[in-house]
Subunit: 117 residues, 2 copies
Amino acid sequence: MHSDPVQPRSIQRLASVIRLLPEKREEYLRLHADPWPEVMATLKRVGVSNYSIFLHGDLLFSYLEFSGDSWKDAQAEIARDPHTQAWWAQTDPCQTPVQGALPGEWWSAMKPVFLLE
Amino acid sequence: MHSDPVQPRSIQRLASVIRLLPEKREEYLRLHADPWPEVMATLKRVGVSNYSIFLHGDLLFSYLEFSGDSWKDAQAEIARDPHTQAWWAQTDPCQTPVQGALPGEWWSAMKPVFLLE
């Protein structure tokens, strides 16, 4: 009577967009062809999976699935990881926010408008 | 001896980008908030799943997973479906190719540059 079935956490599908600086294109591609295992492990630990980045022209599009309780908390935990901080020190200079980004926004969150599961 | 285990088909993760015409924004959102079941059924039948569309500014990003044998053949089958043709007659006037699209390209295919499964 007290053993409620475990509810599967719902998956959040999160997409975002940023601009790749043309002069950093090769460096960005090189880094992401061989991402650091510690950075990947941190993402997995906080509940990120099925995470892809795609490129068209100088637009980078990120898609990921999050299965934790709080994306805000997960992002904070990612940001506390020293390996991730060192990774971002390499990748951030390759990027710049898109036109229309909110003040202080780096990757701009996108609005979901359609889903076929 | 002759009963090979069924190999799971690999999943292709496919992303593409197109521009939403500002004057058609509300119409596009309304259509995609209530997509036609016949169009969804055709997508499912050819092997499309986990298909999302996201919006930022006037950029539409599409992400989908394809588990069939040939994406080219699947696209041709989708294009033969009369319901999908009628759906596109509604949605195509809402869109225009992005800058940098190839000649004849509608949704522009994006290059995968990173994956964390």
